[in-house]
């Protein structure tokens, strides 16, 4: 079919973030053992409890097995062949952005994340993470005036140790799963956010993760705490250079919302996906979980997953507080030989808790795209409600889509609703739009956008436009 081939052409998209920054880095030797963990901890001048946290996680990790239940096929990862700490060489203590290596600033400039005072984004505070370290955080003073803490997790360990000790690992325990345990043992940097009681964060907060080095993994850790009646919107973006080897990314994100607090966490994931033959690309094994600890608290995840060779990711909500709300809005686009197994877990523990799941999977090329989600109603979840909608769209005739919903209920007085659908962009639909003068590429992109609309509507403004553009790019090649 003529159009089938055309579809194949337009889903080929150049990855424009594939450059490598040539910068002197400090790397430790390959491999993973107790000494390496002690070395990372000492480089970060960590307190005893944190070193113990790491060592404990490592011990458990050694006894754990890599999970194989996901619909993912990949060569075994050699954990001894990875560098667990890599940082650009910089001055010991940086007091202002002016002292950051211009090459790093230039890198983030190129990625569309300008950091310098003159150029920085006006409405978003950014924490920029390069390989294993955070290199800059903007708007810190302005945020501090509102009592908001936004800094790298390494800094938080030094300056807000009480909060770290109290909350780190409280949502995702060190031994939660194989990749979380690995992260807990070797995590290097990431972002820390604290919103005090009653404060609505005056601007969106954002972390931008950049993997630069080909042989080191990135193991970042993010912790967000929203005190009573506070609210924050947090955005996360990520890119990596094109290497023909696979790079491991195993992150942990923990969110805590107290009474009446709300956290909105949005991700646009655009790690390098590998080439058309499936060579290279990031292995993305991420544990993201939010705890709605307080009554009427709310945690909302929205994600646009377009990158990575492998995605294994289930942003989840533990709904403990009465009337707390969990949301998950996801668009996952896979192309070529990409594989994604992604979804969520909504664990209803408290009464009258509510959750909404809207998942849109788009598979093109020979890719594999699975939704996997758990909805659980606990014994005390009286009057709890869940609504799930999982839609898949297939482009071409070689892609695959799966939906794996897991539903368990221990409370009769609760409601669970699940809808699922699969569709294909048909030649007839394309011809219909084309016969109205709409260019082929725009027609594909229109249909994909239409398919994702429910999710895009949930993204913060700046992100929605970016997400639309990103999908268009992924699917349109030259247009846009």
């Amino acid at each position: 079919m003529v159009n089938e081939n055309l579809v194949k052409d337009v889903v080929k998209e150049p990855y424009k973030y594939g450059f490598v920054t040539d910068i002197e880095t400090e790397k430790i030797s390959k491999g993973l053992n107790e000494d390496i963990i002690r070395l990372i901890s000492s480089k970060k001048e960590e307190p005893e409890y944190l070193l113990n946290f790491r060592l404990n996680a490592f011990k458990k990790w050694q006894q754990m097995k890599e999970p194989n239940w996901a619909e993912l096929g990949y060569d075994e990862i050699n954990y001894q062949d990875i560098i667990y700490y890599s940082a650009p060489k910089q001055k010991e203590k940086i007091s202002s952005l002016d002292e950051v290596d211009p090459k790093l600033l230039e890198t983030f400039d190129k990625l569309g994340i300008p950091l310098t005072e003159q150029k920085k984004l006006t409405n978003v505070a950014v924490d920029a993470v390069f390989d294993s370290v955070s290199i800059a955080t903007t708007f810190r003073e302005e945020l501090a005036e509102h009592g908001v803490i936004f800094c790298s997790i390494s800094e938080a360990v030094k300056n807000h140790s009480d909060l770290i000790e109290k909350y780190l690992g409280s949502v995702v325990p060190a031994t939660d799963n194989y990749f979380a345990a690995l992260n807990s043992a070797v995590f290097s940097d990431g972002s820390f956010v604290y919103i005090p009681k009653g404060v609505t964060c005056p601007m969106d907060l954002s972390s931008y993760f950049r993997i630069n080095s080909g042989d080191s993994g990135q193991f970042e850790r993010t912790l967000i705490i929203a005190e009573e009646s506070s609210s924050v919107s947090y955005l996360e973006g990520c890119t990596a250079p094109m290497f023909d080897t696979n790079t491991l990314h195993a992150a942990v994100v923990e969110l805590i919302a107290l009474d009446d607090a709300s956290i909105k966490y949005s991700t646009v994931q655009n790690w390098y996906a590998g080439n058309e033959e499936g060579i290279g690309g990031i292995f993305n094994f991420v544990t993201k979980r939010g705890k709605c600890l307080g009554n009427r608290s709310k945690i909302s995840w929205s994600q646009v997953e377009t990158g990575s060779a492998i995605t294994w990711k289930y942003p989840s909500c533990l709904l403990l507080g009465e009337e707390s709300i969990g949301e998950f809005y996801s668009v996952a686009l896979t192309n070529n030989l990409q594989q994604a197994d992604t979804g969520t877990k909504m664990i209803h523990i408290g009464p009258k808790t509510k959750s909404t799941i809207v998942s849109k999977g788009i598979s093109a090329g020979k890719s594999k795209n699975s939704y996997r989600g758990l909805v659980k109603m606990g014994t005390k979840a009286i009057g709890a409600k869940n609504y799930s909608q999982c839609d898949s769209m297939l482009i071409g005739d070689q892609a695959s889509a799966n939906t794996f919903p897991y539903i368990t209920s221990q409370q009769q007085n609760s409601e669970i609703e699940h809808e699922a659908s699969t569709c294909r962009i048909s030649e007839d639909q394309l011809f219909y739009l084309q016969s109205r003068g709409i260019e082929f590429e725009e027609a594909v992109s229109m249909m994909v956008s239409g398919f994702c609309r429910d999710v895009f509507n949930q993204l913060p403004m700046e992100f929605a436009a970016e997400a639309d553009k990103l999908l268009a790019l992924k699917l349109e090649g030259s247009v846009g």
Binding site: M1, V2, N3, C423, S426, E427, D428, Q429, F431, Y432, L433, Q434, S435, R436, G437, I438, E439, F440, E442, M446, M447, S449, G450, F451, C452, R453
Partner: protein, 261 residues
Amino acid sequence: MQTKMKESEPILEVNNLFASTDDLPILKGVSINVYPGEIHAIMGRNGCGKSTLSKIIAGHPSYNITKGEINFLGKNVNSLEPEERAQSGIFLGFQYPIEIPGVSNLEFLRVSTNARRKFLKQEELDTFDFEDLVKEKLELVKMDSAFLSRSVNQGFSGGEKKRNEILQMALLDPAIAILDETDSGLDIDALRIVASGIKKISNNKMGIILITHYQRLLNEIKPDYVHVMSDGQIIKTGGSDLALELEKNGYEWTDNFVKEN
């Protein structure tokens, strides 16, 4: 065949067109010329190739032209993409309009209209100006503006889908409109609405080809020519009386018809 001399150039010239899909011949030498202001009807049994002819003129990718040519406004369009044909003024009204979930009808109509306007070197319309235009055109087919906020054709009744097609014809202001069984599935009231819409949109510069099985649409819109198709060929051409004859005698005689010349 049309023989009388015309003062103007034809809008559409189909010359001895042969076409196939998956190596199966469907059109076996079709010729038809449409001049400005003319209304042609193509009639015939299911499977005679009349819908295929309309799709091929619009550029459907499933069919290959093996011989012959389609000239539109004096230019061979055999190898043009469907969108290029549409932009330059070929309109196909679908027998079964396609549903496009999630894409708002309004946005679809606007992008489509602007693609045509861009070709005509007219100013593209923003959302506000377009809404004014579309509301005016909605009147022609007696559609409610609530249709605009719904997804393209999704959940539309058969009649609503057909009216939406005619709305598109009104917005795109084509040089030639090929309406493939626009009358099928319509009750008598809806048929009148659709027919009156077509009549209001048509003008002395536009050519129209009505593809239909039945006389009833032709009672509303009187054709200048009626062509009868069978087995991928036009076997007979006449005036509007020919349609009445078909209504009376049926299509059976066309089955084993040996082409007159």
